[in-house]
Amino acid sequence: MGLLSLGTPMHWSEAKKHADHVREHGIIQFLNLWQVAKDSQKDCLLWGDEVEYMVIAYDEEKKNAKLSLRVFEMLSELSKEEEEANKHPEKNLEVKTAWRPEYGRYMLEGTPGTPYMGLPRDLLAVEQNMKLRRALAQRWMKPHEIPVTLTSFPRLGCEGEFLEPHHIPDGAACRSLFVPDQIINAHVRFPTLTANIRRRRGSKVAINTPIFHDKNTPKPFIDPTIPRRNLFPEDRNAIEDGAALPDHIYMDAMAFGMGCSCLQITFQAVNVDEARKIYDQMAPLGPIMLALTAAAPIYRGYLSDVDCRWNVIAQSVDDRTEEERGLKPLKDSKFRINKSRYDSIDSYISNDPSNKPEYNDIPLVYDKDVYKKLSDNGIDDLLARHIAHLFIRDPLVIFEELLNVDDNESTDHFENLQSTNWQTMRFKPPPSKTSPIGWRVEFRSMEIQLTDFENAAFAIFIVLVTRAVLSFNTNFYIPISKVDENMKVAQHRNAVLGEKFHFRKSIFPQSRPGTPASGTPSGSPKLSNASLPRATHHGTNLSAGLDRSDEYELMTINEIINGKPSTGYPGLLGLVNNYLNTLNIDIETRCEISKYLELIKKRANGTLMTAASWMRQFVQNHPDYKQDSVVSERINYDLVKMVEKINNGEVIVPELLGSFSV
């Protein structure tokens, strides 16, 4: 969630006036950074995962599982290891885990203390480290508390008690009918972010997620649990103003979205070009991995008709004004904007020749002034557009003390906008001019899994895919509008088995490359000699024209992951296996990695259920369930207990995990 600065945050009415200042200096800061970092070369793959935990507090008497708001006490203990190491750099202390607060006051974000390296056997450290993190987190909890990796907490915002300690929802920051402000991280940045989103938008956020209609669910479904209240002007939104749609689960606070957990993977590339290439190649995989990791079927006590968190978060931080959303003609706002700040990416950014202009087929909204400033300073078209696109947003949280900073030293203003554009991929410059860290890419679409084994499997799979992508110089480009379509489809209930996704048919270079791709040394003086006949041989394929619709087709997740023999497409797993087969890997590593890959394979072909399907099944088979889509306190309690037991190895759930031991 970015670095947390301390200071006095501005109210939106004040912050609004400084938005241009922040943007202007943000660009200057980026340009200063660019000058230093554009030629930076790292010779090392470094990567890390981010796991977000929810801390559960059981009420064993009432058989209720609640969210514990005690996280700050735990964090102060958990971060001691890192603080100690930072205090005494001369001791060279090894930091095994690093901890950060998250949006929700019940959330912990854990990362490995130092990044993983690129060797295959380093991959085996991932699950161990995740297990260590869970154990460490547990150590600082009370006996009735446990950390769980649930993507969305089923009873968040329900009637009755879902927080420990309990609070009445009457906070001024989010003004929610369902959740109190105490659920938000106490750091001043987060309540301000929440309030300023509402203020900028001109209304509370409105999240409507379609309900799953079971046998006894009323049709149309009008939620009887939405309270009527007269405390804030926004209290009329839900019912009187019609923000709560029929047949939907209505939520009205940022906490419903940003209070979800996810699994994010960050890789450091060798240079800026490689980072841009990974960004583009992984972008089409975002929706695929979202569907495959689906783990969020329950919201505010109801079974929903979606399996994933994505749209809930997107709606929960949608700060666009009515004008920007296209509901009113543009008057005060500058742009009409199609997406929330939290959504899929809008453009590819690599300068690789395989990135054809036709793939960027969404009209990109971008700030012309910012673009010009970047162009004038030598930033190429694609990257300038990307940054100028991020900069159509307003900075939401500005600290008075940090308004004027040295643009040569600080990247605060740039990061202010960069880190509040929450997209499926994030392209990250080095954190500062002097930092040893290089250009990075973050893969952000995956949902968190119930066990460390599964989380390690998906993290490792994604890293291996990036290695295979660079080794084989693959091409996953499809028009970005198709990636958006996939993103919508991916969230459907059981999309992993029931839906088809646009995917590129031929992922290998059609014509054999005349020049080696970036990152590969070499080339040969005799090259032209040998490649001439080749170029003419394949010349027809090179200039196929602007219609690229024959380059992709609809495939199932199973085909995308496990391959489609009829067309010779090897599947992402095939690609990874071919990469691994080429390496001289010791048998132990290979066998361990095979287990992880086996899980991915079985999730994709339906042998094993996604967490979302499994949770649905659990709820629907629960004796307390009345076929009315309601997930009661007791069901929630049993579900969380079950998840705990699975993690402890006390219960085996072959339909979810097969015979793998967690």
Binding site: L119, S471, P521, A530, N584
Partner: protein
């Protein structure tokens, strides 16, 4: 002796012409007679070859086969000729990078001939040429013995004896050479593929006895890798042998497969008589980044390798083995040239026919049994054919004495040589 040389040239010229005849339909390769064909495939990581393999096959030569096809398809125009050697190189692969090398020796089943150290030298030279480096340092070198496949049940007593013998006879010479490279630091780790515990022990004992490097790597196939016998795992740990995985087929390039790949590019006969000697598989892994950047495969093969198998240990052996057959030719030609009889056309055609028959016969024996020179032939052939020659000569003299009139009446003086001196037939048939 001249006859031998001529015979040799005659044979290959004859076939060279044959190839020429079909060159129009085929390709440049066929237009020149050649004895070596070296083929470097491209970087299979970048051509899509490796990426789109079918991974349900855990033992496969699919990668090699499609890489070779690819190279022939794209790089045939760039073939280079030097003497009787042809080199076809896919230019996408080149660049100096240190990496891992696996060398597959290919011999006919049943062959007990020692693995050629010369081929090893050639292989490393070829690799250096391909990568444009001198004195290449190889991280891992894996020696893949022909027809070696992992047997989880271990070896029985006879197998142990046979294996020990084959290590002693056919592997150790190459191992000695590899061991030198290992000790001089040009090979980082030296190993084998598809060995069981007993096999590793046998090789280790044999190597130790001669003060050579012991195996440090054992590559096992993926399909066995998660169910390896405990004794192998424990032994490897004890001996610090790295157990690594691979996905190569046991028979990486059977002759039949190779000829079917070559057929579209070579005259049919040439394609079938080409037998691959070894396959090199080279891959470089940028360790810190987890990237494989280069993966080339090289095949060295010899044209007419059935007549001149590539497994000749040294020039002396080659000379000796060729000489055995050469001597036969000499005998037959002596028959032809030093014949005291008046020569008739039919008598010239008949020995030529027998030469052809003889060639077909040795070829067939070689093809079926995998050897083409019999141990007993050395003493027997020389004494026997020498004796026969004298006997034949004697019979001819007797013939001359007793059946002179008949002989004269065989044909007209225009066709035959009436004066049977040793020089005149040579004048006439010297350029057979």
């Amino acid at each position: 002796m001249t006859a031998i040389a001529q015979g040799h040239n005659g044979v290959s010229n004859g076939n060279g012409h044959h190839a020429n005849g079909e060159a129009q339909q085929h390709s440049v390769v066929a237009s020149t007679a050649f004895s070596h064909l070296t083929l470097y495939t491209g970087n299979t990581m970048r051509t899509g070859t490796t990426g789109q393999l079918n991974t349900t096959l855990r033992k496969s030569n699919q990668e090699l086969v499609s890489a070779v096809q690819d190279t022939l398809q794209y790089s045939l125009e760039a073939a280079r000729f030097k003497g009787s050697s042809i080199t076809i190189t896919d230019e996408t692969s080149l660049g100096p990078l240190e990496g891992d090398l696996k060398m597959f020796y290919l011999t006919v089943p049943g062959s007990t001939a020692p693995l050629s150290t010369e081929q090893l030298t050639v292989a490393i030279q070829d690799l250096e040429t391909a990568l444009g480096v001198s004195e290449i340092k190889i991280d891992h070198f894996v020696l893949s013995l022909p027809h070696q496949s992992f047997d989880e049940n271990g070896l029985d007593e006879t197998e142990v004896v046979n294996f020990s013998k084959s290590i002693q006879d056919s592997v150790l010479p190459v191992w000695r050479k590899l061991s030198e490279l290992r000790q001089s630091g040009r090979i980082g780790r030296l190993g084998v593929a598809e060995f069981g515990k007993q096999e590793l022990e046998i090789l280790k004992t044999a190597a130790d006895a001669q003060g050579l490097s012991v195996p440090e790597i054992n590559q096992v196939n993926l399909q066995d890798c998660c169910v390896l016998p405990k004794d192998l795992i424990n032994y490897s740990k004890e001996q610090k042998i790295e157990l690594l995985t691979h996905g190569d087929a046991t028979e990486i390039l059977p002759s039949a497969t190779f000829s079917s790949i070559l057929r579209p590019y070579l005259p049919a006969t040439a394609a079938t008589t080409l037998a691959p000697n070894f396959v090199l598989k080279y891959s470089a892994f940028i360790t810190s980044r987890g990237l494989i950047t280069k993966k080339g495969i090289e095949i060295l093969t010899m044209y007419w390798s059935q007549m001149y198998p590539g497994s000749f240990e040294s020039a002396r052996v080659a000379y000796r083995e060729i000489s055995v057959h050469g001597l036969n030719f000499a005998m037959v030609l002596t028959e032809l040239c030093l014949n005291r009889m008046q020569l008739h056309r039919r008598l010239v055609v008949a020995p030529l026919f027998f030469i052809a028959l003889y060639m077909v016969w040795t070829w067939l024996v070689d093809w079926i049994f995998g050897f083409w020179v019999y141990e007993w032939i050395y003493p027997c052939l020389i004494s026997f054919s020498g004796v026969t020659n004298f006997v034949m000569y004697g019979i001819n003299m007797l013939k001359e004495r007793f059946f002179k009139e008949e002989a004269v009446s065989y044909g007209s003086p225009n066709e035959a040589v009436s004066d049977g001196g040793p020089n005149s037939p040579e004048n006439q048939f010297g350029n057979v």
